[in-house]
Symmetry: C2
Subunit: 180 residues, 2 copies
């Protein structure tokens, strides 16, 4: 079943905001903490919510690779995280399924690139385009150890220079540290 | 942008309920009217809501066929309608994208069969699986002239005997007539 996931930006939550970069389009209001849970936190400055869902592009061969190394969230060593909300363009959503798949994987190697970093970057994809009133299409979430942040940046650099990213019209990169 | 669509079953609305069949699983509470709009109707017995969304399986060749004969809702002659909420099994949603596509089209010819009836059956696919708390995955909506109801039944019979329908675990077929 789809699982609701809510990110609340404000003064409460397990994650301290270390840095915010508006990669494309407008940023989000500045906050000190981010809470990640099944419900909104009280008195949040912003709330971004969505659901985990079924795979949209991954084929059976690629799924076997992912299933062999499932993302484990909450690893004690993973004290850094990134919340990266993304909105794709109307042109992207107007493409047929095979056209989107071709850009995402055959041209951009999105799934293959992500698979190379499974051992160090845990991730969760939250869908929100189909939520009424949503301003982002996806809320992407990543957890990693402090020593692996450079590898995470390498992963992002590969994706951001791919043909798929020409369809990204808003992207905010929020770096987080586990609050002690 | 995804467009919110809300079906409210109760005593108000433009559509009179002519017949309800629980094809698979539980039926819905009996109502006299169904309202279709962007917001819930007041005092509804049940409310089913979702959004229109991007194509999930249709490839570019199939999309050209559909785009050449776009579904027009609200045709004056189309005084009959069907609201058919559907839930697919967990096994369906656990399949990779190419596996779902293979069942839906290569094995079941869902898109091809639907395309044969474009001239007489207008349709709208409302997605709700990713709505928190939704009990159906899709709310499928069809409009046709009274004389074409037999063709619509033929279309349904083809789909319901296809391999894809082995993954349908709940289906309620609500036949409607435009209230005068």
């Amino acid at each position: 079943m789809p699982d609701p996931i809510v990110f609340s930006g404000g003064t409460a939550g397990a994650w301290s905001v270390a840095d915010v970069t508006a990669v494309s389009g407008a940023s989000l209001a500045s906050v000190a903490r981010v809470d990640k849970g099944a419900r909104p936190a009280a008195a949040a400055t912003w709330i971004l919510s969505g659901v985990t869902s079924n795979l949209r592009y991954t084929n059976s061969t690629e799924k076997r690779v992912l299933d062999a190394a499932p993302s484990v969230l909450g690893r004690p060593a993973a004290t850094r995280a990134a919340l990266i909300p993304i909105t794709k363009s109307a042109a992207w959503w107007a493409l047929a399924q095979d056209e989107r798949r071709a850009v995402l994987e055959e041209q951009s190697r999105h799934i293959a690139i992500g698979s190379e970093y499974l051992a160090v970057v845990s991730r969760q994809l939250v869908h929100c385009r189909d939520q009424p009133g949503a301003v982002f299409d996806f809320l992407t979430w990543f957890e990693f150890a402090p020593a692996d942040e450079a590898l995470f940046d390498e992963l992002l650099a590969k994706l951001r220079t791919s043909p798929e990213w020409q369809f990204v019209e808003r992207e905010v990169d929020i770096r987080l540290e586990k609050a002690l």
